[in-house]
């Protein structure tokens, strides 16, 4: 394994970012003189320097070009880069960073996305009035008829707070100009996307930017977008030296986070538990800059009804700018916030109808042939198995947990539905080496999920060779072909398809070469164990021997391309094929609640996912376990707290993530297709969005209290047990 943060290049400079202390302010002046005099400092760059150097766009953004490389005119969140100190050592730039004198005129700020939509809210971007950062809607059926059919209507508002991805490895980037070409080595899940973005920003032709990435020490969505690379590239251009930026932990908190969301949900049900109508209103907090939010809020819309057959659905999803850290995909992207709402409410409906939570789900589960709220007819659905697996994992309905003195136990279940990135493209190239091994050239990124081993496994299987004969190249946009990104649980399916196509192409070429060499018809050649055989004849000829005979590289190419998707649709009337396949997941939890302190202990937790054709049952299990542990954090403790518009807990002493001691007994279910040729499904995030609502439902089962705000902190639970109002976000830092 090698990581970007361990990488150094000769002659490199280090850079550190000066960040805004205010959530919203006008920049009056930046005085870099004192900082510039610190020995070792080579340059102090501010937004004005980007503007005056006309060679690049001062702003960037794939969907909306709204984010300055370095802030000028205005800062829109506390933590926004205002200046960059570049020098020969970290010590020098660290020392100089505090000497950059920035004068601000503070402006009114807004943190909450619902408030940001009100008429009196501060406006972040002149071009986007009302702080709109994405608006989507869809409708199916007849809402009036649906409500009339309902015997009961359950309503609720569910809030998920901002959170941080907390990859173990912070973002790191080394940038260098080589003549008119830009070479960037960076921690990214999407090297070709970063390449395209940098080509746009720096006005370069396609291919003039080279982006490499190494293994990532975790990503979870935090490294899916262009973030620090433009700063590093600009500094490198100005200084004519390679420039390296490595964020520290606090800066990771200030660079990208999870969308907070407020979800209002009303559901009508018949007395027998059949859901007949659902109205959904989602407000995502995009933070100060758009990144993927204008589109991601649409993905949220599609995922918002949940995995149930509901004839009448009306949904609206918006994202709004606020003076908070910009947001991006976060493992279980856009879906966790929704699942928390619809799966909490599912148990509320069950309680209102005195039904069993598993029974009410079983009655409404989406099945093959059902029509979804987008109008799509669904197939390849496996919710029955996922529900049964979740229920049996926690012994639902049997061994009902006894509640002891002061402690109550309960069980809960949740299911989720999720789309995948559509359209998207993956390309792969397989090259036969002289020694008979095969190099897999592709831009899929290893981020700890085992991508490299999965690619090797899939290529080896397609070629009927040993995994150990596969070499997997590191993503490098100069040599590895295009891939949209390693995200959205798409890689095993889409890169897998590209690799399979490339393997078929390689075999075809080997067949043709062998036919010429052996003077036999192509149809008589068969492949087995890395060799070709002529049917009914002598010894096999190995691929290495064919390669030797040809004396030139033998290459197979393949790609995967999906079509359709949201961007082809009217955002306010979404209808049609939104995804190539549907991700399906489940979770179940048993908890113990200490009624005196409110502390929730998760005793066991289960994660299930539909894997299609599983490439590695072991890695499916690991992903489900990872989802459970990751979800535990959002359920019980994770929240970025803003005080006066400033993130107040941007460090791991104050922002808690689960420790190994918090991990319960974890079980995993991998639902697999009966069809050996079925397409593989990604499983990286399927169980995750179900974890928090499963725990919330278990808390309800244990205590009778329903929490509609995450995380389920001990204090929040105790207040609910005492019948008190829900808690405002906690005070963050210790007293001075």
């Amino acid at each position: 394994m090698s990581y970007v943060s361990n990488h150094r290049v000769p002659g490199q400079l280090e850079a550190k970012v000066v960040r805004s202390p205010y959530p919203h302010a006008r920049i009056v002046a930046v005085d870099a003189e004192r900082a510039g005099r610190v020995p070792g400092v080579v340059a102090v760059l501010a937004g004005a320097d980007v503007l005056s150097d006309g060679r690049q766009s001062p702003v960037f953004g794939r969907l909306r070009s709204d984010q300055p490389i370095l802030a000028y005119d205005r800062v829109r969140y506390a933590g926004e880069p205002v200046a960059l100190v570049v020098g020969t050592s970290l010590a020098a730039v660290e020392a100089a960073r505090s000497l950059v004198d920035v004068q601000y005129e503070v402006l009114p700020h807004v943190v909450d996305a619902v408030e940001a939509g009100t008429a009196s809210a501060p406006q972040l971007h002149r071009e986007w009035p009302g702080n709109g950062c994405g608006e989507w809607a869809m409708r199916i059926g007849d809402m009036g008829a649906g409500w009339r059919e309902a015997d009961i209507v359950v309503e609720g508002t569910y809030y998920s707070p901002p959170a941080s991805h907390v990859p173990m490895e912070p973002h790191c980037c080394v940038s260098a100009w080589e003549g008119e070409r830009l070479h960037v080595i960076t921690t990214t899940q999407a090297p070709h996307r970063v390449r395209q973005d940098l080509e746009t920003i720096f006005r370069l032709a396609e291919g003039q930017v080279r982006v490499e990435t190494f293994d990532l020490g975790g990503a979870f969505g935090a490294k899916g977008q262009t973030l620090i690379e433009p700063m590093a590239a600009f500094a490198s251009r100005v200084t004519s030296r390679p420039v390296r930026i490595e964020l520290d932990r606090e800066e990771v908190f200030l660079t990208i986070g999870k969308h907070a969301a407020t979800v209002r949900l009303s559901t009508g049900a018949r007395r027998d538990g059949t859901l007949v109508a659902r109205r959904i209103e989602v407000v995502y907090n995009a933070g100060a800059y758009a990144l993927s939010s204008p589109h991601a809020s649409g993905q949220g819309l599609v995922r918002s009804p949940g995995p149930y057959r509901i004839a009448n659905v009306e949904a609206r999803s918006v994202a709004r700018y606020t003076n908070t850290v910009p947001t991006g995909p976060f493992r279980g992207a856009m879906t966790s916030q929704l699942a928390f709402a619809y799966e909490s409410q599912m148990d509320e409906i069950a309680a209102a109808l005195s039904m069993d939570p598993v029974a009410i789900r079983r009655r409404n589960l989406l099945c093959d042939g059902d029509v979804y709220a987008t109008g799509e007819r669904l197939h390849d659905l496996h919710y029955e198995q996922l529900l049964n697996g979740a229920a049996s994992a926690i012994e639902w309905g049997e061994n009902e947990p006894a509640s002891s003195r002061g402690r109550s136990r309960g069980k809960g279940i949740a299911l989720i539905i999720k789309t995948t990135l559509t359209p998207s493209r993956s390309e792969a190239r397989l090259e036969l080496q002289p020694d008979g091994r095969v190099t897999i050239w592709c831009s899929g990124v290893e981020l700890g999920q085992g991508a490299r081993e999965t690619f090797a496994r899939m290529a080896a299987a397609a070629l009927d060779m040993e995994d150990g004969s596969m070499l997997v190249a590191r993503p490098d946009t100069d040599v590895t072909p295009f891939d949209s990104s390693t995200s959205s649980s798409r890689t095993t399916a889409s890169m897998g398809a590209a690799i399979a196509a490339a393997a078929a192409d390689l075999r075809l070429k080997l067949t043709q070469m062998a036919a010429v060499e052996l003077r036999v018809p192509e149809a008589s050649i068969v492949h087995a164990r890395g060799a070709v055989l002529v049917e009914g004849q002598g010894l096999p000829v190995t691929y290495a021997q064919i390669r030797e005979g040809v004396g030139a590289p033998v290459v197979g190419e393949g790609h995967y391309q999906s079509e359709g998707g949201l961007s082809t649709m009217n955002p306010l009337d979404v209808h049609g094929t939104t995804t190539v396949h549907w991700h399906q997941g489940a979770a179940a939890a048993e908890v113990e609640v200490d009624r005196e302190t409110g502390r929730v202990t998760v005793l066991r937790c289960h994660g299930g996912a539909y894997a299609g054709r599983a490439i590695s049952p072991h890695r499916v299990r690991q992903q489900n376990q990872g989802s459970v542990i990751f979800g535990l954090g959002q359920a019980l403790m994770e929240e970025v707290v803003y005080r006066d518009g400033v993130p107040a807990n941007p460090n791991l002493a104050e922002y808690m993530i689960p420790s190994i001691l918090d991990v319960p007994m974890v079980s995993s279910q991998s639902v697999e297709s009966d069809d050996p040729e079925a397409e593989p499904h990604g499983v990286g995030e399927m169980a995750l969005p179900a974890v928090a609502p499963a725990i919330g439902n278990a808390i309800f089962a244990a205590t009778g209290v329903r929490l509609r705000r995450l995380p389920f902190t001990a204090e929040r639970v105790l207040r609910a047990l005492r019948g008190m109002d829900d808690l405002e976000p906690p005070v963050a830092a210790p007293p001075p």
Binding site: E596, A653, P658, S659, A714, L718, A732, A733
Partner: protein, 283 residues
């Protein structure tokens, strides 16, 4: 200014540096100082490491005191035979700090000198009547009762040139001590509330001495007033007595609010945890 790192060989030498360079900071295990440096909460020009000074990492019995050298790691105190025998509450508290990686680095001297309000050991030290031994280049060692040592948030009564060389706990025959920690978030979190309790019992099992100190709820460890703890002397430490003391502790202490819990919440937890700690003393 680049940060200088010095490793004096004696306490006197270290103290002389502190006196000469007001911008210096003592470092032992580094678990607190390094965090504060990284978060830019402190900006010293010299770090004075105590790691090369011999003899500061020993635990020994001196007269009627258990002397724990300032550089003794929290993990060694958690596992040490002497600490478990004479100050089991302190061993418990040290074993609850952070995680084992932190405990292997963090030292008891650093712990008290940092005076973090949200740390486990200080409350126990106060409950055991411990004293902190501080030395300088020239003056004789000064013994500061733990109850007087912690002055405010991250503030002690140490003089600028004083260095903590040991923490000493009086050996009281038959005394029992416990520490109970309540974490409101992860299992590696600092305490939301920590309760240290110690007691002696006479031959008939009646209380002859009692101390209750609540940590992590205010700037300094909060000692329950003797008017409460003395009132139970001669009583059996049973359910009613325990409940009364717990309610009194919750009433008397005005806790702070922070990310680990509001003031209201801590008041509830103080009652629960004092009850639990006192029950622990009877087991």
């Amino acid at each position: 200014m680049p940060l200088r790192f010095v490793e004096p060989a004696t306490v006197a030498e270290a103290s002389a540096i502190l006196r000469a360079e007001p911008d210096s900071k003592v470092i032992s295990g580094g678990t607190a100082v390094v965090l504060m440096l990284r978060q830019r909460l402190i900006d010293p020009s010299i770090l004075v490491s105590l790691s090369q000074i011999p003899g500061l990492a020993r635990m020994s019995l001196v007269d009627k005191w258990l002397r724990i050298g300032a550089l003794t790691s929290l993990q060694d105190i958690a596992e040490g035979a002497e600490s478990r025998m004479y100050a089991s509450g302190l061993a418990d508290a040290c074993g609850h700090v952070g995680n084992v990686r932190v405990r292997n680095r963090a030292t008891i001297g650093g712990n008290v000198a940092e005076a973090d309000y949200a740390s486990d050991p200080p409350a126990v030290l106060v409950s055991l009547g411990a004293r902190v031994c501080a030395e300088t280049a020239d003056a004789p060692p000064r013994h500061i009762p733990a109850a007087d040592f912690f002055a405010d948030y991250y503030t002690t009564t140490l003089a600028t040139d004083e260095i903590v060389t040991s923490v000493e706990i009086p050996i009281v025959t038959g005394r029992r001590s416990v520490y109970q920690k309540f974490r409101s978030r992860s299992s590696e979190d600092r305490p939301c509330v920590g309760v240290a309790a110690s007691a002696c019992f006479n031959a008939s099992g009646l209380v002859s001495a009692l101390e209750v100190v609540v940590g992590a709820v205010a700037a300094t460890p909060q000692r329950l007033s003797p008017s409460v703890t003395q009132s139970v002397i001669g009583s059996r430490l049973g359910g009613d007595v325990i409940a009364t003391i717990a309610a009194e502790a919750s009433r008397a202490i005005k806790p702070i609010g922070d990310a680990r819990g509001s003031s209201w919440y801590r008041s509830q937890i103080i009652e629960v945890m004092v009850r639990s700690a006192l029950s622990g003393l009877t087991q």
